[in-house]
Every structure is written in structure tokens, then in C-alpha cells.
Symmetry: D3
């Protein structure tokens, strides 16, 4: 069930039976020579929509922009500052809490969002903890999960790509994005075949010096729609398991 | 051409021939008994993607959240504060300007965003105007257009609905959203047939008192997919005309 | 009745009989070769004070600084960033609401403030809408009106200046400011007689390139104190009509 | 010379011969039973305008709102938060520095502004100190002076009122404001004759408990227009002396 | 070498031979019945000072306040909001970068700081990445390390406490803090012996409901000064190894 | 009693008998050729700890970073922006108020903090004054005191150093810091013997031009540990007297 496709009376009815919601969050950033700029948003969105369909969980609109400052030397990247992303997440959570949502789960597609999401959750809780006296509202549970970090997905990635998986513009995410958008698949020869490894903790110019074509340790020419389909099924299973435990769904 | 479906080398190539981009911006807010919560994002997104397809203009990911504080008493609405939306737009524009985009056009689906978008543009320009000495970057043109305010769309709306068009959850936008998402169409009887009129300048509780089912002056039971298709064609023509004049496209 | 000239017990007494207030808001910015830097503040202030005198409405001190970043390449301009102006308006409204004012009307003299004022009102309402549970305070109505946009003033402007009115440093505002400050009248020959037209949505350096002497489409050498007096009377009538409807004054 | 009454070419000419400016800054806050809400703005404004007239110094529009949170339990008070006032002063100074003003002198009428003004100056300088590499602009000298703290004014106050001067709603400031606005003079019997003394460092409710009619240690029933005139002359002399030393005027 | 105990000419000389610095960062928060409120600051500070002594690395003053909102229902806790801590770290890094420090290593004692530190580093880098054109400064490497997460410390903790180590108010950190401050050691019987486990992602009231005496999964009655000494040596070795690799020290 | 060395149950017990706390606040900034970068934090911390020991008052961890932007051209200085320091103090005070502390006394070692501390207190009070209706919490008294400004310390300083005391890197503070950290004493010949005098209200580059070795009007070669001991005793007596009056301690 997608929030964008529902009416408010339908959401009102949903809240009578369930108070959990999944918010896909990604990034708009370069993903190497053959990866889509939208990869990090498309991947969690695709998995979230499927969970919404299979299990009836409500899915919010995708947060397409994330914290991608280190990719800004590659055209097409759009980044929020961490402080901006904190404000966005805070307003999102506050809006949902007002309606009575008690379990908000961010399904994330971008490692660079993790620290800022954690800071954002703490900012929301600090609003409550620092306003002493009677609290403004009831329970509020926040969690995030990375689609690429569940056990089934990690096992598949390892079996498909081994050391060529890398950490950015990975063959796994490229495969999943192509499964979701087969019309956007591109064939590109990688040179070197496996990209250099290193730290992404730096500014944009330095990042491009370290990783000239945008990949980090990966060989995404190994990606395929078939792999994507299997990663998709694994991701749906991983995240549903994780979400159920979080939201107390049977 | 959708940014999310392109690689960075494709964007680099695009920038050699064109430096304009369209950013769809909407809202996630109640749209009355039969309107989708995503209406304001779906409508401009649909038009933007078609312009991208027909005319080769690059289209950024949709900004799904807007300034919708007055709708927060209806479940499903997610609002950014104006100050948050300003930060989001500022980071978006700054990112695009870094890559060499000179014309950024926000295709808007929500009247409530207009003031804040204008403030955001001024905030970006003030960054330049108040940092005297050699300026950090070249030309930067910003504009916004409402898909529902062009001449062809307004003429169609008037002919279809006359006084029953209203100003929120209008039959026009419901029609266009159904054209874009026919599977999400709903049949709901409206009572009263035409919703009350009034000002939306108030907080959420007051808004719900004034407009009990969320509509403002409209009868969206008149909406249809057929109307939606004609509004879509009108919107594409209106906005393309407007964008061309802005971006200097022949 | 001017707030600056009242004591607090007088304001306490006023609040027993009326809970509306007018806040003049302008800008400090270049107004072409013969226009005063204070034009945009002087014009609404003059009209507000007269309404205060004739109709007993309370008038707050004038907000002399507005959003004028695009004029900063002309000496004398002082601009607030939109985010700063939002903070100022928010604190102003919060202060007034604490005392029990329920209708706050900003009488504006500067087109460049409009978007930011609208964002500021939404920021204030969002404070209420996003703090769910028992609301902190009672009704709060916010509105703004431009002195130059009422029917009587527009008709006079058209009859006096026709196409030479323009959109910045207009003959109308120069006339009204001279009526208010006849000692500051200046005779300057304009060259060209009518200034170029165009968009003000740009940074300060670009604005000065587009509009070399600061005027936009106007011939303010047509201005006169006599015109100013008639515009003043028209403005007082227009705004009083508008304010009465807003504040429910009989 | 008042900035509001000048054209931009006149300011351009002024900057050829002088790069100093005086900015009157006050507050909009209760001043006891017979004091005007505008006292703290009217007093420095009146002195600044006279210095502008006698000595040709440019005078900016008055900053009418200051940091007055502790007075908010008395109707009519409008306060900025310190963080808002810092933003206002920063934008003001940045705007003036862009035009080439090198000496900006804030003529202050409100003790409660002093700490925040000092913080604002440091915020502006920190912008420069923390942006290493070539500095964005030339010299920038900032200073503030309280009209009530110069030697001539203090001597007069002591001789007129002795211990009944107090520290808020003082007989001195009431006198000066009446000299400036004789039409707004009020006769009110004070009870007790001399108000209680204490600290103003508290919130608004506590302030009103400590100082029930708003005065602090003062007997403003001793005020008179005649005193006001002598204080005015003393203030003009004190501030001119102070400003000359600051701005290096001969 | 401690920055607080050096003169500026000594720092100038240091920068000729080394451009790395260690900044201890902790928190001021409850640590259960027998743990010190200062535990999280004392532990990294103690290790940092020893590294400074043994290896000549410069050590900045300890950042005593961290992100501890979830502990605020226990008296003595002082927390910064994430947004405040980001500002503190950004100013700290900007100051150090101005002097020519190129490697800034935050030695952390509090798990709750990790997300916010990561967001703060990204905020600093975004300042560079989003200000396109010639960059304001040279290389800048940022890293953080948790004293309790190195291999030697983890091995010791496991051997000393096994499952009774827990995740807050752990026996390891209590031991180290007692080694550093033996005069502050306390004997307290724990009940239950091992505290409940669970998530700390919640607000302060909820945290205290989940963890009534403040401990999470730990039995800190196992702590001792002797353990502390061995953990200290292990921590110094772990962090020095980590810092050397980061800063390129031989 | 030091907060860092206490457990939360000890703080809970303390709050039963006393609700006052002392927060040492300093700066990390150059102090001339022989003064420690930590002087401004070490001095108040030393006095606060002694008061804590002698009189049982609780002492919070030291705020080591202050507002020191003007010292940033000397290596080793770390400055917070005023807006950052306001946020830090606001969070500190809010945290303490939540626990029931009613009297928070900042014992300050740096003149440059004074304005910003005052602004921070007002920001905290404004949070209360502008949130009308029932206030969020009980009484809250805030005060600050400079260790160097009490009568006993000033008398000693005058008798030891006369005109050579100066206003930054003074012989008094150097003496006290050496008494606290005798191992960090340095012998340096001053040239000129007494440093130039002037205003510190400027940016960092200008400050270094005005005060080439960092001292302002002082001859800190006169400092000694013996002087430091006497200043320490005088400071403890001055501040205890001041704190007692503030906190109502008998």
C-alpha cells in the first residue's frame, strides 16, 4: 500500500489496524560508468513497494535526496547537507507521529546516509527528552535498515561477485536497479576491471582524485537483470523479517 | 531524459549541449475523499517526464515533500516547515550549479509551495549578493511554474468544471492524477457536492474545522481519466512553452 | 494609534476592545536616480499611521528592513536574507499573539517581501500544526496587503502614468514618498526616459547589469507631491477596506 | 543625513568622502505606567538624526525591535530572540560592508541589547576569521554606544533624579522621549513612588512578579520635556564625541 | 603534549614537524549505580594524554559534552542536541584547519556520539564540496576511533567479563575510569546482577523505563582498578596503532 | 564535589539538599609568548574545584571552548562561533533544569565570552517567555562571574602588577595557571616589555597586526607561582561570596 496512492480516509482506516510505516530513503549520486544516478533511491523503493504489496504495510514517498557531498565532483549528483537531511527527517517523523504512527522504518539505499539518519533520530528524541514535564505524545519507535546489509542479500552478493563487489557502484546494486528499470541498463567496459579501494571520508574533489570513474572497489560490469531479480527476492525477505521484528507484526 | 536513469558520463555529455533542468516539486498531503495523497507530486512529475521524453530535457528526481502544514490534521499528510524546504531547495540548486547547470526550473504541483520557493530562490541569490568580491560562479537562472496555471490547462478546467473546480482537491488535479495512476482511481460521493470556500492561511486544526473533508470549493466527483488525458496534453504544452522561453531553447 | 507612542496600560485597554494590529513592513533599497532609499518603508508607514489616526487601529513600529538582496549592488541598500526575515516575523507574531492579538495585518511596501512573508506565516502556523496535542494558544489570523495593489491606487496609477509606471522605482511610489517627505524631493532627468523591463529574479550584480540606474520599466520623473496626495487617499481607502474585511471591523 | 531620505547616487557620493554610518537601535517594550513602548527606539533615533543634521554623518533606518523577552508579560512588547537579532545585525553589517562602509556605529537605547550586539559583532568577525585564505573584504570596524551612558548625560541624570533614576523606565529616558514626542506625554501617579530594584535576568512572568508595573528602581513621574531637551543636548555631545573618536572624524 | 599546556609558539613549532592532533570526546551522562557521570570523557582523555606523552602527539582539550539525550531522565546527565554537537565539531575542525592541521582524530568514549560525529565530518566536507571553484584550503583528513573497540581492548573485556560486559555502564569502562580516578571508586551491589538488554534508540523517559538503574546488559560490580590498568595499556596500544595508520606516523 | 566524579544516585541525593551548580567556562586560545593556550579554562576550573571541595557545591565539567575568533591567527586557538556557544549553553542549561537545578552559575575565565553568555541566557529565557500559556518548568536562575573581576583579585593584581597587568595574557592569569599547572611554567623574555594596548573587536588577521605576540597591554614575565597561589585564594573567596549571594547559600 503506497501512501501516494491512498486517500486520507484510507490512511485513517489503516491507522485503526496498523501504526507502522516504511519510508524508502536513497540518494541522487553518481554510480560509476554504468550505474544509474538514481540507484540508491530505486533499490530501496523497489523493495519497499513489494513489501507494501505482499504484506499490506504502508509505504511513504521515497526520499530521493540524501547525503552525497563526496560525489559532487561527478555531474548529476545532488546532495543535501547533513543538517538539511536532519531537518527533513525530523519534519517527516513529526508529521507521521502527529497522525498516530508509532513505528517509522527508514529503508535505506545509501551507506552515506547512516550517520545522519542516526543523528536525525536523536534530534527527534532530544526534542522530547529536553522538553520536560508531561510529554507531548505517545510512543515513537524509529529504525533504519539497509537493503544491502541483510543476511540473504549479503550471501548472494558474495556468491555472485566475491571480492569484486566493492563498496560503491557495486555489482549488487547495479543489478537490482536494472531489474527495477531494465530499460536503463547500459553496457560499459570497466578500466581497470576492479576499481581502487579507499575511504570516502573526504570532500568531492579529493573523492574524484581517489576514485576517478566513481566506483569504489567494484566491478559492476558483472551486474545483470537476473542477478537483480534474485537480489530483489532476497532483499524483500531480509527487510520484511527485519521490519516485522521492529514493528511487532505477526 | 530522467536524471535517475542516467549515468554520470551521460550527464556530462548532456551538459555539453544543454545546461537546463526541470525539477518536479509537489507535496504529500490529503486531497479530499477521492484524491490521492500524492496528487501534487504525481501531476508535475507526469508532465515533466513527458517533456523530458519529447524534448530531451533532463528531469531531476521529484521533490515529494512540500509545505503542507495546514493539511496536517488529515492522516497521511507529511509536511516540511518552510525553513526546511528552503534548505532542501538551496542544497539542490547549489549542487546543480556546481555541475554547470545554468537554468533550473521547478515544475510545481502545489500552491502552498509558491511563497517558500520564492524565498528559497532569494536565499540562494543572497548567498551570492552578500559574498562580495569575485563571485563564486557563473550565471544562474531560477524559475518555477505551476502545471495548473498555464493558459491551456486553465481553459480546459473552466470548460470542464466551471465553478466546481475549486482551489484544493480540484477536479482537474484529481483527473490528471488518475490519468497517471488509473489503478488508484476511487469513486466517492461528495457531500456537500461542492465543498466550502475560504482561506487556507491557518494552522492544521483550524483548516480541518473550515474544510471538514479536506476539499476547498471543489467537486472532484466530476474527475475522470479522460479529462486527465486532455489536461495532461494541455499541461505538457503549457509548460514546454514556458520552459522554452525561460531556458532559451529553440 | 501608534504602539510606539502608547504605554502598556493603554495597550492593555486597547486589547479589551480590539485585538487587531497593523504592522508596516518595507525595505531599505535603492529606488533609482530620484527615489528615496526608504521609499518602501515610508509609503506603507504613512498609510498605516493615517488609518491608525482615522479609525483607531493600533499600528506597530515599521519593519524598515526587507528582502532586497537583488538591490545590493547599489549603495545604500540593506537587505535581510529570507531566513532572517522569517525569524523576525515569527518573533514579532509570537510576541503579539502572547498578548492576545488575534489579527495581525502586515501592510507591505515591497514586492520582494511577498514570498518570504508567506513563508513566515506558514512557519508560524507549522509551529502549531506540528506540536500536536493541546494547542498552545487561541485563534491567530495573519494577512498581508500591498499598499500599491488595491483597486483605487491601481486605477490612479494607470491614469497618471500608463505604461510608464513600471515595476520598481515607480512614479506612484515616488509620488507617495514625496507627499510623505516633501523636503526629500529631488529633480533628476531620466535617461532613458523609461527604464528597461525584465525580471528581478537574480543576484545583485546581474540586477545592476540589467537595470543600470536601478529603475525597472518606470519613468519616475513624472512623480509629484500632488499625485502623492491622491495616491495617499486612495491607499488609505483601499487598505482600510481590506483590513476591515480581514479583522471583522464594522 | 538620513539614509531613508537619500537616493543611491547620493550615497555613492557620500562614500567618496566618508565611510562611516550610525545605526540607531532600540526596542519595543513596556516602559512603565507613563513611558512609551517606543522609548528605547525613539531616544537613540532622535540623537542620531541630530548628529546626522549637525555633522553630516549618514544615519541608517532605526532597528525598532530589540531583545526584550523579559518584558513580554506586559502588553505591547515585541521581542526578537537573541539568535534572531544576531542574524539581523549580521545581515545589516554585511550589506553595509559590501558598499564600502568601514565604520558602523550602533547607537543603542536599550541595555538588554548590549550582550547580543557584542555576540553579533563577534559572529560577523568569525565569518572572516574562520574563512581562511584571502579575506573577502577590507577593514571593518564595529562599535556600539548607549546614549544614556555618556559622561554628560550621566551627570545630568544624577543631578535631576539622584537615586530615583533607576534602571528601567528611568526618568531620563522618559524625559528624552517626551522631548522627541511631546504629544505623547502622559501624567500618571506612581505607586510606590520609587519602583523596586532587582535583576532583570529572568523570564517574562518572573519579571512581572518582581516589577509589577514594569519600572525598575525609577520614579519617572519626575520626567519633563525640559529635562528631555537638556538630556538631548548632552546626548548629542556625548555620542558625537564618541563617534568621532571611533570613526576618526576630525 | 597537551594543547592546553602549550604556548602558541610551541604549537607553531609543532606544526613544522607534525600536522596531526587527537581530540578526546566523551559525554556527561549517568553510568549506572557505581559508574561516574564523567566516565565517557575520562576514559578517552586518559588514553589520549598517555599517547601524547609517549609519542609526542598533540592532544586538544576534551569535549566533555556529547549526545546523551536518552540518559536525561537520570540526574547529572548533560546532553547536546545532535545539531549542537555538529556545530561544535565543525567550529573545532575549522579552527584547527586554519592553523594547518591536516589530520584530526577524535578519540571517542561514547557510542552515542558516533552517528553525529559522522554527520559533522560530512557537514565540514560539504562546506568544501558545495563551495565550488578554487577550494579554500588544503588537505583535511578526519577520523574517529572508539577506545573500547580496538582488538586488544575487546579481547581483554571478553576475557574479564564475558557476557556481563554489556553495552552501557560496562565493567570495562568503569574499570578504566577507576584506574584514572581511583579516589572516585564506589562499591555498589547490583540488582539484578546483570542489567536488562535492549535498544537505546528512544527518548529519556522510555530509556529509564527500559533500564531502571541506567545500566544496559552489564555487571559493573566486576570492575576493578587492576582491570582498568590493563585496559588502559591495551587502549593506548590499540589507539596508537590506529592513529599511526591514519596520520601516517612512522 | 565534581559532577564527573559522581554517580547519578549521588546527584539525586545532592538535589534533595541543594539545587545550585557551578559550570566553569573558559576558552582555548593563545595567551602570548609564555601563557598556556588553556589558561582561560584552567583558571576558573581550578577555583571552581576548590569551592566544590571546601563548600560542597557541585561543579560541572569545564566548557573548554569559548568565543575566541579574534585569536585564530595564532596557532592552537580553537573558537566556537557565538551562535554555536549559545546552542551549547542552551542545551547545558536545559539539561540541568530538567533535573531540577534552579541556580546555574557560570564561572568564567574569558572576557570574550561575556556578551555571548548574556545572549545565551536571554535565549533560554525567551524560550519560556515566548511559549505563552503554562510555563514548562519552575524557577530558573542564571548568573555568570569572572574569576578575575572580584574585589580581592583586582586588588591583588593591582598591587602585584599595576599598569603592567594589561587585558589579555595578563600576569594575573598566567600566575594562576602556573599555580594550577606548575609543570607547564615557561620563562620567556618579553619584547617589548609591556605589550601594546587597543581594542580586540576585530577579526583574527587584524588582531595579530595589532598585537603581534598576542599580549594586550601586559607584561606576563612578572608572573609567578607564588602570585598564583595568592590569586587563587583571593579568587576562591571572591567567587564563593558571589555564588552564595546568588544561590542563597548560608
Amino acid at each position: 500500500m503506497r501512501l501516494q496512492h491512498a486517500t486520507w480516509p484510507e490512511i485513517e482506516a489503516y491507522l485503526q489496524r496498523d501504526t507502522g510505516i516504511i519510508v524508502p530513503i536513497g540518494s541522487t549520486e553518481q554510480h560509476g560508468p554504468n550505474g544509474l544516478v538514481g540507484t540508491d533511491a530505486i533499490c530501496p523503493e523497489t523493495i519497499a513497494w513489494e513489501i507494501g504489496k505482499r504484506h499490506g504495510v504502508l509505504v511513504a514517498p521515497t526520499q530521493n535526496l540524501g547525503m552525497a557531498q563526496h560525489h559532487l565532483a561527478f555531474p548529476g549528483t545532488i546532495s543535501l547537507r547533513p543538517s538539511t537531511l536532519i531537518a527533513v527527517l525530523r519534519d517527516t517523523i513529526t508529521s507521521l507521529a502527529r497522525h498516530g504512527f508509532t513505528h517509522v522504518y527508514f529503508l535505506n539505499g545509501h551507506g552515506g546516509n547512516v550517520g545522519t539518519m542516526s543523528a536525525a533520530f536523536a534530534e527527534v528524541y532530544a526534542d522530547r527528552s529536553m522538553r520536560f514535564g508531561p510529554q507531548p505524545a505517545g510512543e515513537l519507535h524509529l529504525a533504519s535498515g539497509n537493503w544491502f546489509a541483510g543476511p540473504r542479500v549479503r550471501e548472494l552478493s558474495a556468491s555472485f561477485y566475491g571480492d569484486a563487489e566493492g563498496s560503491h557502484a557495486t555489482a549488487s546494486e547495479i543489478s537490482l536497479s536494472w531489474f527495477a528499470r531494465p530499460e536503463a541498463m547500459k553496457e560499459v567496459v570497466m578500466s581497470p576491471r576492479i576499481a581502487p579501494v579507499g575511504s570516502a571520508q573526504c570532500d568531492a574533489d579529493e573523492f574524484r582524485r581517489r576514485f576517478p570513474d566513481g566506483r569504489m572497489g567494484s566491478d559492476p560490469s558483472l551486474a545483470s537483470v537476473e542477478h537483480g531479480q534474485r537480489l530483489f527476492e532476497a532483499g524483500v525477505a531480509d527487510i520484511w523479517e527485519n521490519y516485522r521484528a521492529f514493528a511487532g507484526r505477526s
